[in-house]
């Protein structure tokens, strides 16, 4: 059995221990081992939501910190991203098959930012929650965000950044939205590990809101869309 148990109490390992095991699998690019950890956690009785919130999400946050400290390569980060996707798909089996009913959300990593893990995870959570997600990928210029949002009729743009230097590029998007007079029609959600460590960055870059993690993205996007559409809007 892959999961070790706490024999004194005869209970499975704590979520913190499982998180550490998952993190180790991510660092070692062990996709199959990570899948085993998640499968066995579910088999041991952890609820899918708890696997996501208490095991996967803290692992992602710690990975983000390692990325910031430059102790992980881009390749390791990509494997970790794939593991996060695998985990979400295991825990949310109807992901991607749900009908989109909440609206359109345009997401992407801001110009010069290539840290896709958080964005991709956020996209999966938004899809799972019923959003029609248009993911523009990494290194997205401000103009492209706006162009796509207007094209598809989105009310919320989600701009992700991992590093402080790249987070500052979100200002360009804020300025563009304001310059076009769209501030009441298009809301700017910002996210990425750097916003957790430096919350004041949200207002510095002109964000309308942020979520501490991908799990909170649905609530944030729903709130921002409601601000655009006004009270009582569908």
């Amino acid at each position: 059995m892959l999961l070790q148990t706490n024999h004194e109490e005869d209970f499975p390992m704590s979520p913190a221990d499982l998180c550490q095991q998952l993190l180790n699998a991510m660092i070692n690019a062990d996709r199959a081992g990570a899948a085993d950890i998640v499968s066995e956690a579910l088999a041991c009785g952890f609820a899918p939501a708890q696997v996501i919130s208490d095991i996967l999400d803290p692992a992602i946050i710690r990975l983000g910190k390692m990325w910031e400290e430059e102790t992980m390569s881009l390749a390791q980060n990509f494997v970790a991203s794939k593991i996060a996707e695998d985990t979400l798909i295991s825990c949310l089996p109807d992901l991607g098959t749900k009908e989109s009913h909440k609206g359109k959300a345009v997401i992407g990593n801001i110009e010069d930012d290539f840290h896709s893990l958080g964005r991709r995870t956020m996209g999966l959570f938004l899809k799972a929650a019923g959003w029609d997600v248009i993911d523009l990928g990494n290194d997205v210029p401000a103009e492209q965000f706006l162009e796509k949002a207007l094209e598809v009729g989105a009310s919320v743009i989600g701009a992700s950044a991992m590093m402080q230097t790249t987070a500052l590029n979100i200002r360009k998007l804020r300025e563009l939205i304001d310059r076009e007079g769209l501030q009441n029609h298009l809301k700017l959600a910002v996210g990425g590990a750097v916003f957790n460590w430096r919350p004041e960055l949200v207002s510095e870059v002109g964000g309308d809101g942020t979520a501490r993690n991908a799990i909170g993205a649905d609530e944030l996007f729903t709130r921002l869309q409601a601000e655009v559409k006004g009270p009582g809007a569908p």
Partner: protein, 342 residues
């Protein structure tokens, strides 16, 4: 001894009067000639004029052929984003999938703006023949596919679809061979390959060894002329020991975070090292500090020869004060081939 003799002697281990110095100055030339960047990177005459201005202002030991990878992405069908502040960049790659990339028409080395690069190289070679060597920069064979499909997709392909990755490497490799040889034929004295996959920030050593190194050997063996592998600013010490012995490779650019003493130990005394000044420092420190940083590099790696003082990343920031470039050059002048400061 002129710059050509100084650089060529350094690369081949023959005596020199002093250590050569070189900074990647492309867009910076537009500062001196008042040219806009779109013209600089599409008009060979304007580019030549900018390199002439740089050469007369700073006197570095190499001149640079246009270092613009967006022209490669464009030749495959990608889009370029132009900025007033930096070299053009790829906005959107040519293909959204590897399968679509493999269906793209393989461009010739003179297609689109690549013809401007060849023309400018030819003009530089004619002007500086055997006085100042011309260096041309190309993407490394392992990172080139990212210009066709984007870095994200390329990284995923390398990691999770090794068969598809090999196909794309092979397909794009033929183009790189043609472009590299065309640049040598146009007069480039040395080719620099920026191989991001060799850097610790991009890929672990094992991935480089498995997925890239055999291809790197095969492609570089088919390209003429002396070749240098660049770290693109990242840390390359993790793979540096694997580079000597690759066909035609005479040196490597150490990353600004690499320990140069360790770099030398890894490659041995007869392999050329370049570096390893941090690009960002050029615009953020004073001239005195820049001179000291340059002297630190020289003292760490230049005493046995086979060393060129250089920056480690891409284009030097536009905001770099001229005094800093002069301080860097001055450090190389003060530090003679004997390794003792005058």
């Amino acid at each position: 001894m002129n710059s050509y003799q100084r650089v060529m002697n350094t690369l081949s281990g023959r005596p020199v009067d002093r250590v050569p110095a070189f900074a990647i100055l492309g867009a910076y030339g537009a500062n001196l000639t008042g040219c806009d960047l779109r013209t600089l990177y599409s008009d060979a005459g304007a580019y030549l004029q900018a390199q002439q201005a740089l050469q007369s202002s700073f006197g570095f030991d190499l001149v640079l052929a246009p270092f613009d990878f967006s022209a490669i992405a464009e030749a495959f069908g990608g889009e370029t984003v132009w900025s007033g502040l930096q070299t053009p960049n790829m906005r959107r790659p040519a293909a959204p999938t590897v399968a679509r990339a493999l269906d793209l028409r393989l461009p010739g080395p003179g297609d689109g703006r690549l013809s401007f690069i060849l023309e400018a190289t030819r003009a530089l070679a004619q002007l500086y023949q055997e006085r100042v060597p011309v260096i041309a920069v190309l993407p490394g064979p392992g990172i080139l596919p990212s210009l066709l499909v984007g870095l994200d997709l390329w990284m995923e392909t390398v990691l999770f679809e090794p068969g598809a990755a090999r196909n794309l490497l092979s397909y794009s490799g033929d183009f790189l061979v043609a472009l590299g040889n065309a640049l040598v034929e146009a007069g480039a004295d040395c080719l620099v390959f920026t191989e991001g996959m060799a850097c610790a920030e991009i890929a672990p050593r094992a991935l480089f060894v498995d997925a890239v190194l055999p291809h790197l050997r095969e492609i570089l063996a088919r390209i003429d002329g002396p070749k240098i592998i660049s770290s693109t600013g990242g840390s390359i010490n993790q793979t540096l020991d694997l580079l000597p012995g690759i066909p035609g490779v005479v040196g490597a650019v150490a990353g600004s975070r690499d320990d140069l003493v360790e770099s030398r130990r890894l490659v041995g005394p007869h392999f050329n090292l370049l570096g390893n000044l941090d690009n960002l420092a050029f615009a953020s420190v004073g001239a005195e500090e820049m001179q000291q940083m340059s002297l630190d590099c020289l003292q760490a790696a230049a005493h046995g020869g086979h060393f060129i003082l250089a920056n480690s990343g891409g284009d030097i920031p536009q905001a770099t004060p001229a005094e800093n470039l002069l301080a860097m050059h001055g450090a190389a002048v003060r530090y003679p081939a004997t390794g003792r400061l005058q």
